[in-house]
């Protein structure tokens, strides 16, 4: 581990991890072991990769908020401590080949994952516009950097302490209109992803969202991180956020049914399968 710093309400950790940096593509996440050896905390914590640099053979930067004991422990790490990381994990953002117009919507720490994506899009001559939001001013992540790189950056906060008072989706429609956006990418809590998706659907443009489900393994073997997603064949399946996502096409995610097994999902109880355990 290289450095640790505070960014408003967030902690940022930079870790020397050449193997991860090398294979990284925007949208990837990593999982971090917390608590040290002999810790009672067994599961790794997942974090999107915010930044990748080539110095020290390759570093990755994570941005996180303290939620519970695992992130609390992470926040106490100091420079030169070592961290145990697995990654890069997950399916990254699909990137358009053509120089299209793109709106990136981030809520709180969810914004972090959008910056490497923005860099890639800009390198492909896309037009990039940011919509960033949060509960309060100190929880809006990356506004300065967004202003620097994007065509426009629109901010909103729930308490009105920065930008417009309200949700990121309150401003999204006008940004899409103004920028003639071809596609939306979004990262943030499920209810925000849901709202962003319905705006994109109204404009009939594709939207890529990052789904954050509690994950025990991050590599596709534990089946704890599932959500109902409609496949190409129109069938709803309980798919794993960690390896089948975390990036999904928003229209395909059955947001209203997250946390349930929709009756028409493949293998749903009553849908022909018996209830075994």
């Amino acid at each position: 581990m290289l450095t640790t710093r505070r960014v408003d309400a967030y902690h940022a950790l930079t870790v020397v991890a050449p193997g991860i940096a090398e294979r990284f593509r925007p949208g990837h996440f990593v999982s971090v072991a917390v608590g040290g050896s002999r810790s009672s905390m067994l599961t790794r914590r997942s974090f999107s990769v915010h930044d990748v640099r080539s110095d020290y053979g390759g570093t990755v930067e994570l941005v996180f908020t303290v939620r519970g004991p695992g992130t609390e422990w992470l926040a106490e790490r100091r420079a030169r401590d070592t961290l145990d990381l697995v990654g890069p994990l997950g399916r990254p953002f699909p990137v358009p080949r053509d120089p299209v117009s793109v709106v990136l919507v981030g809520f709180e720490y969810g914004s972090a994952v959008l910056f490497p994506l923005a860099d890639t899009l800009l390198a492909r001559s896309c037009r990039v516009d940011f919509v960033l939001g949060g509960g309060s001013a100190d929880r809006v992540f990356g506004a300065m950097r967004a202003r620097r790189i994007a065509e426009t950056t629109t901010l909103s906060t729930r308490d009105g302490s920065l930008g417009l008072r309200g949700e990121v989706t309150d401003v999204l429609a006008s940004v899409i209109t103004d920028t003639r956006a071809d596609v939306v990418y979004a990262c943030g809590p499920m209810e925000v992803m849901r709202a962003v998706t319905s705006v994109a659907i109204k404009f009939d443009i594709p939207v890529q969202v990052v789904a954050e489900e509690a994950m025990a393994c991050g590599i596709g073997i534990c089946m704890t991180c599932v959500l109902p997603v409609i496949g190409d064949d129109g069938v709803t399946r309980m798919v794993r956020a960690c390896v089948d996502g975390p990036v999904f096409r928003g229209e395909r995610v059955r947001f209203e049914d997250v946390g349930t097994i929709p009756f028409d999902a493949q293998g749903a109880p009553g849908g022909g399968a018996r209830h075994v355990s």
């Binding site: 067994l42 790794r44 590599i219 089946m223 991180c225 599932v226 097994i261 293998g267």
Partner: protein, 322 residues
């Protein structure tokens, strides 16, 4: 000289004693991205059911002290899809595969066995008895010797003789030896223990159960002492029945505890979630520990903790090579 790590699951020889626990290694494809699956003693599949199953709603997991609660609910594609897509992938690569099966009735287990009986690439069948018996008010088979024996007997009678049938037992019973004995008597070639004891966590923020399913299975190091005890008790009562010990194995030393208690193979589950390479690391650590203790063969360490204190461990290989 390196330790001979080969072991036998009934009459089937495995190159090494460390295998993945059912439901903790995906289809094999996921772990194959990290290492060559041939380096596993064997891979155990998730419990396969007749029909596809969507499993339980989320949240499906909650962390507990040194443990993990899960309520996945046997999500899986069903036996047809398994035989069409998953098993051939493993079989073509020659990966030792223990196929776990789960059902809600004795008939469902029998039907699964019939489908597996002539499928190529089945190293052994593990009968997951921790499923509710829908013909007996949802009482879990594993909680009763008679119900367990009925399932095991039916599967044993259907599978070909050269495919070992393993009965997987749960610790939530008053007398694990009684259930183990019933299964062995019904024809189980080996026993696997322990499946997850039933646990629960309440989310003190929402004031509701942390898992959507309410209760869930507890796994991880927290349950290692229960696993060691079950293996110890069953090995003491049934010294000739091979045991796959599992439950909370995180290190070679944990694996060695189970082996000294009487297991001849060790299953690794939750540790894989933390470290995809866990099986390889644990096998290496185990080999080192055995070597440091003077064992030339893993087989010589099986059940050694049952011997009276006097018997010198360092000379065990001499005894057993007589």
């Amino acid at each position: 000289m390196s330790v001979d790590m080969r072991t036998f699951l009934a009459h089937v020889e495995l190159d090494g004693p460390v295998i993945t626990a059912a439901g903790c290694a995906g289809t094999g494809r996921e772990l194959a991205q990290f290492f060559d699956l041939h380096r596993l003693g064997a891979l155990t599949t998730p419990s396969i059911t007749m029909a596809p199953r969507a499993g339980r709603p989320t949240p499906r997991m909650a962390e507990t002290p040194s443990g993990l609660l899960n309520a996945v609910g046997l999500q899986g594609p069903g036996i047809d899809s398994f035989l069409e897509r998953e098993l051939p992938w493993l079989a073509q690569r020659g990966i030792r595969t223990v196929v776990s099966i789960g059902g809600g009735t004795v008939n469902e287990y029998s039907a699964l066995a019939r489908r597996l009986a002539d499928a190529p690439g089945v190293t052994a069948v593990e009968v997951n008895l921790a499923c509710p018996n829908i013909e007996d008010r949802g009482r879990v088979f594993a909680r009763e010797g008679a119900a367990s024996a009925e399932v095991v007997g039916s599967v044993r009678s259907i599978m070909l003789g050269d495919v070992p049938v393993i009965a997987k037992l749960s610790p939530d019973v008053a007398d694990i030896v009684a259930v183990a004995t019933a299964c062995a008597d019904a024809g189980a070639d080996a026993l696997s223990m322990i499946n997850n004891p039933l646990g629960m966590a309440i989310d003190t923020a929402t004031l509701r159960p942390a898992l959507a399913a309410g209760t869930g299975g507890l796994s991880g190091p927290a349950i290692l002492p229960l696993a060691v005890r079950c293996v110890w008790q069953v090995h003491a009562a049934l010294p000739r029945v091979p045991i796959i010990g599992m439950g909370g194995v995180l290190t070679g030393s944990d694996a060695l505890q189970l082996i000294l208690a009487g297991a001849c193979a060790v299953g690794v589950g939750t540790a894989l979630f933390h470290d995809p390479y866990a099986c390889l690391r644990i096998e290496r650590e185990l080999a080192d520990l055995l070597q440091a203790r003077g064992f030339q063969r893993l087989a010589d360490a099986v059940g050694v903790a049952h011997r009276p204190p006097g018997s010198p461990a360092r000379h065990l290989h001499e005894e057993s090579s007589l």
